[in-house]
Amino acid sequence: MQSGKKNRGLSKQSLHSGPNMTPMVDIVMCILIFFMLGTTFASPDLYLTNNTPAVKTGGLNKATGSAKMPATRIDIKLARRGAHTMATIANFQTEDLSGQLAKWLKQKQRKLRSLHNLKMGILIMPGNGVPYQDVITTYQDCTQARFKAVGFAYAH
């Protein structure tokens, strides 16, 4: 009777001959939880690149800094009016930065290209109270219109 019971027990044990996976599963689960908590799915960092960052301007809007700008340039003045930022270029003025400026710049670039590819720089002259977002929007409009040299005035 007893020997029969022993045999049954042995035959059951022999079925679990593989490695014990429990510690591995524990560790793998820990690694998984670490990655889930430590990972951010925020969109990757994006940049707008500029090679003519700052141009010091004097009282007569004359660039005095070391940054190089083309001889001919467009000055875009940004000023805060209430909740909006207005852009002024010579006689042209926009009520906000919703798209008028981008359209104007693209038209200007088209004209310049027809005039023997005349290269023209842009100097963005934001007022002190203009939010950084509007400065970036203006800069993006300039780059989208394919203006290469775009500088920022830091005193005017």
């Binding site: 969109s43 994006l46 940049y47 960052p53 934001p126 007022g127 203009v130 939010p131 993006q140």
Partner: protein, 143 residues
Amino acid sequence: MVKRGMQPMHDDHVNVTPLIDVVMCLIIFFLVCGQLARGESVKGVHVPIAKHAQDMAIKKHELIVNLVPHKPLDYRDQPTIVVFQQDVLPDKLVQLMRQEKRLDPRTKLVLRADAHLPYKFIAPVLEDATEAGITNVNFMTRR
């Protein structure tokens, strides 16, 4: 008729092999698709939106300058300048930039400023970069 070959195994335990397969796949997914929080980025900065911004091809030689608003939703005071996880006084920033430029001539500035900050706080950083001879400036944005 007698069956030959191996006898089928009868295991009372749960087969964990598919579980490990799935978990391994998840780990690889997180490794590839996710990115660990970057050390240089400081919380509390909502960078501006730019639809046409691009990812930087080479993320080397970066000098990340964070402009963190002094208080949340208060943009009137001078923001805190954070570089290499340390607060930097506005007067000392140009010195730091010069030092970095001297150590690595290919240094490029990455400006990580809050979208709501007035330009009067941004301009001095650009001025400092020009003075330090850093002409490559990258504005960090989001879509």
